[in-house]
C-alpha cells in the first residue's frame, strides 16, 4: 500500500502550458505539503494545508495554486509554466497534534521538465 502517492511521476511540457500534479495520502493525516527540490537537491517548502485549510504559503509565484478538496488530497496546479519551474516536486503528509510531532511521509516525487 502506497502511503503518499503522486501522479504523474514524470511530466514534460512546453513553456506557457498549464499543468497539475495530484497527491493522495491514505495515512489519515490531517496535514499535507508541497516541497520543491531544485537541481542542487535543495528542498524548500511551498505550501502546507491542515484539514483543507492553507496554513503555510511560502514566497511562491501566484502561478502556483494548491487545491485541497479533502484532507486526503492536495493537488498543485501551475499556470504559464516557465523554464525555472523545472524541478522535482514532492508531496508529503504528517499528523499535526501539537506536542506530538511525528515525521513527514513523502511521495516519490514528480519530475517536471519545462522545455
Amino acid at each position: 500500500d502506497t502511503a503518499v502517492s503522486q501522479t504523474p511521476k514524470y511530466l514534460v511540457t512546453q513553456m506557457g502550458n498549464d499543468k497539475s500534479i495530484k497527491c493522495e495520502q491514505n495515512l489519515g493525516h490531517d496535514t499535507m505539503y508541497w516541497y520543491k527540490q531544485d537541481s542542487k537537491k535543495f528542498l524548500k517548502i511551498m505550501f502546507s494545508y491542515n484539514n483543507k485549510e492553507l496554513i503555510i504559503n511560502e514566497t511562491v509565484p501566484n502561478r502556483f495554486s494548491p487545491k485541497s478538496p479533502d484532507k486526503a488530497h492536495l493537488n498543485l496546479h501551475i499556470n504559464s509554466l516557465e523554464l525555472g519551474d523545472s524541478a522535482v516536486y514532492f508531496c508529503a503528509s504528517s499528523q499535526s497534534d501539537r506536542g506530538q510531532n511525528t515525521e513527514a511521509f513523502f511521495g516519490q516525487g514528480t519530475r517536471l521538465t519545462v522545455v
Partner: protein, 114 residues
C-alpha cells in the same frame, strides 16, 4: 528562527569503514530532528527521528544519531558503510507554527568506495 546546517556537502568513505554525517541545528524551542535518505531518482525515506525522548536514536539500516543540546548537533553515524548506503542524506528540523513545518538542510552526498 529554526534552521539546520549540514557541514559537508560531500563525504566519501571506503566500504566497511565508519560513516559520520554532520548536522547542526538552530531552534528557539526544543526541536524535533530527523534524518532522511534519498537514493538516486527515488523519494525520501525516514532513517530516524529525535522527538525529546532518548538522546541516542537508532534508525534503520544500522544508522544512529545522537542529540547533543550543548553542541546543538545531531550527527548521523554508522559503524560500517555498505555500498548500498551511497545516497543523499538530509537533516531536518521541525517546529510548530499553526502546523508542523519541516525545514531541510542542504544535504550531504555520501559516496562509498569499493
Amino acid at each position: 528562527a529554526q534552521s539546520v546546517t549540514q557541514l559537508d556537502s560531500h563525504v566519501s568513505v571506503s566500504e566497511g569503514t565508519p560513516v559520520l554525517l554532520r548536522c547542526n541545528y538552530s531552534s528557539s524551542y526544543s526541536p524535533s530532528l530527523f534524518w532522511y535518505v534519498q537514493h538516486p531518482n527515488k523519494g525520501l525515506q525516514l532513517l530516524l527521528k529525535y522527538t525529546s525522548a532518548a538522546t541516542l536514536v537508532k534508525g534503520i539500516n544500522g544508522f544512529e544519531a545522537e542529540f547533543k543540546k550543548s553542541e546543538t548537533s545531531f550527527h548521523l553515524t554508522k559503524p560500517s558503510a555498505h555500498m548500498s548506503d551511497a545516497a543523499e542524506y538530509f537533516c531536518v528540523v521541525s517546529f510548530y507554527s499553526g502546523t508542523y513545518k519541516y525545514i531541510f538542510g542542504t544535504g550531504t552526498r555520501l559516496k562509498v568506495l569499493a
